[in-house]
């Protein structure tokens, strides 16, 4: 825990300074997680603010210290999920239309030919973003938490409140769909 429970209790009682301290302690971590979940740096602050806004208005429901971080994670996941859902309504992702450039980029990334500059990072994000268009927003987030954030199944269980076997099945299916899209994209373009 980055903050002690006393601080959380003070924030629960309406102490704005205490709430500020909680935000300052967690915002960098939360923003990093959101960046990886949504792959759009330009919207990360907006989603992070939404997470802390939800935290502010639901903090009084928190009873136990040990559930604070999984709970904050759940708020983050839900805010990212809502963002992705809105985004999908605005634009369609189609892995079958993964551009040749993105496929080449994916190969280049894994092949070690690309440079580590921002342009390269942007292309990597776009390639992964397109690939993840082949699964639902919920599965996308689940995959990201497991494969990129490196969360264990036990941790995921706490966040999703779903048993481990169900999570395993869901993860396996989601990964298969992404792999299929990955293979289709690569096959289509060379």
């Amino acid at each position: 825990m980055l903050v002690d429970f006393e601080l959380i209790k003070r924030a629960q009682q309406g102490d704005s300074a205490a709430f500020n301290e909680i935000v300052l302690a967690y915002r960098k971590r939360i923003m990093g997680q959101i960046t990886r979940l949504i792959a759009r740096p330009e919207d990360v602050e907006d989603v992070a603010q939404e997470v802390f806004l939800r935290l502010y208005f639901s903090l009084d429901q928190l009873r136990e210290e040990k559930v604070f971080e999984p709970w904050l994670y759940r708020l983050t996941v839900n805010a990212a999920f809502d963002y992705l859902r809105k985004l999908r309504r605005r634009q369609e992702f189609r892995m079958s239309d993964l551009s040749e450039q993105q496929v080449m980029m994916a190969d280049a990334v894994a092949g070690g030919r690309a440079d580590q500059d921002e342009q390269h990072h942007k292309k990597v994000r776009e390639a992964v973003d397109s690939l993840l268009g082949s699964v639902s927003e919920a599965d996308r987030i689940l995959l990201m938490l497991k494969e990129v954030e490196g969360l264990s199944l036990k941790e995921l269980e706490k966040i999703y409140k779903v048993n481990e076997n169900a999570l395993k099945v869901r993860l396996f299916r989601a990964r298969q769909r992404v792999l299929k899209a990955f293979g289709a994209g690569a096959g289509k373009h060379g």
């Binding site: 500020n20 935000v23 300052l24 915002r27 960098k28 971590r29 923003m31 990093g32 960046t35 990886r36 792959a39 740096p41 990360v44 602050e45 992070a48 603010q49 939404e50 802390f52 806004l53 502010y56 208005f57 994916a106 190969d107 990334v109 894994a110 092949g111 070690g112 580590q116 390269h120 990072h121 942007k122 990597v124 994000r125 390639a127 992964v128 690939l131 494969e147 990129v148 990964r175 992404v178 792999l179 990955f182 293979g183 690569a186």
Partner: protein
């Protein structure tokens, strides 16, 4: 960076590792906290106006109920005499001369019984 060799599984893993590097933890802008508090205050105002509206509606509904209750309890000029029985009230409402209710009655003389 891992070389691109092997199955699609390996390639995907390599891509995701690279993705994690492409999305490092980042520092928020200077406006992060002011914007956050701005949003919190806006939401609080929204909640406050909603509560105020709900309270106003509840008060109006209560006042209307009381007014209706008082109105129903007061005797009205058109109301039938409370001392009347149901039958009396019905007879008064449907007087015999009301043409749509009671039409002309034709009585046939009864046939003379055969002697």
């Amino acid at each position: 960076m891992q070389p691109l060799r092997g199955t699609d599984d390996d390639k995907l893993d390599a891509l995701l590792r690279e993705y994690a590097k492409a999305c490092p933890d980042r520092d928020p802008s200077a406006n992060f906290m002011p914007n956050l508090w701005g949003r919190i205050e806006a939401r609080q105002r929204q909640v406050f106006s909603f509560r105020r509206m709900a309270n106003t509606l509840a008060t109006a509904a209560l006042a209307l109920s009381i007014a209706l209750g008082v109105y129903m309890a007061l005797p009205h000029a058109s109301q039938a005499n409370p001392g009347q029985s149901y039958i009396e009230a019905l007879a008064e409402a449907n007087a015999l001369d009301a043409p749509d209710i009671v039409g002309p009655v034709h009585l046939e003389p009864a046939a003379e019984p055969a002697q």
